[in-house]
């Protein structure tokens, strides 16, 4: 029986899924609803100066970059497997497209965070 190489993919998928489950709703509520609703009432939420100060801290920045990375990884893993579930013969090309874009996204996030320091 051939040993599966899923485990490392699954661990990252799990980390991303857990993070998204714990913080996803609250974050989307904050940035997606509170920010524009507050703006309409003339209240600035997550303005440039404040946000830059919060995210420029190395520890916070690294955590944010890695968090975005694992969530992208989680989605890539799920999307890849769902395409196969739907009968698509998703081979190497699709694999690299899915996981590759997650990897690129993570690198972009790390780069942006470093640019804040």
């Amino acid at each position: 029986m051939k040993r599966s190489h899923e485990p490392p993919l699954w661990l990252l998928f799990g980390a991303g899924g857990l993070l998204a489950a714990l913080l996803g709703p609250a974050l989307i509520l904050l940035t997606g609803v509170v920010v524009p609703v507050a703006a309409e009432r003339g209240v600035e939420v997550l303005g440039y100066e404040a946000t830059r100060e919060l995210l420029a801290r190395p520890l916070v920045g690294v955590l944010l970059a890695l968090s975005l990375g694992v969530v992208l990884w989680h989605a890539a893993h799920r999307i890849y497997h769902t395409l196969r579930d739907l009968g698509m013969r998703a081979g190497q090309g699709v694999w690299w497209a899915c996981y590759g874009s997650a990897a690129i996204g993570t690198l972009v996030a790390i780069g942006a965070v470093i640019a804040l320091w």
Binding site: L22, V45, Y48, V108
Partner: protein, 132 residues
Amino acid sequence: MSRPPVYRPSMRGWWQRHPAYRRYLLREGSSALLAAYALWLLAGLVSLAAGEAAYERWRELHGNPWVFGVHLAALLAALYHAVTWFRLLPLTLPALRWGGRRITDRTLVRGAWLTSVALSVGVWLYLLGGVR
């Protein structure tokens, strides 16, 4: 004596055969909206590094009705993801015991939601300037 032929059924359209399968695809599909939100935050992060003008443009876009609408959809997707994730989490754990008594699935789910609320409050306080 040759074996009589057998008929092998097809998997085409399998997901339409039962609501359980549709629910599964909905659950898996919620990750697409989560990815969209993560990419949107990534765009915000990049614009923050680019400078005030770029970042404020990103922040202003949140008032756009389409952007707002997608965020609402993403919020629903994130909630559905969280509900199903916490419900399935106990299945990935071995039987746990505390002082001889079995920790039930219900306890684990409640613990997960409590953790989510606690972490969410913490992140909100941090981002809204309540905690330094």
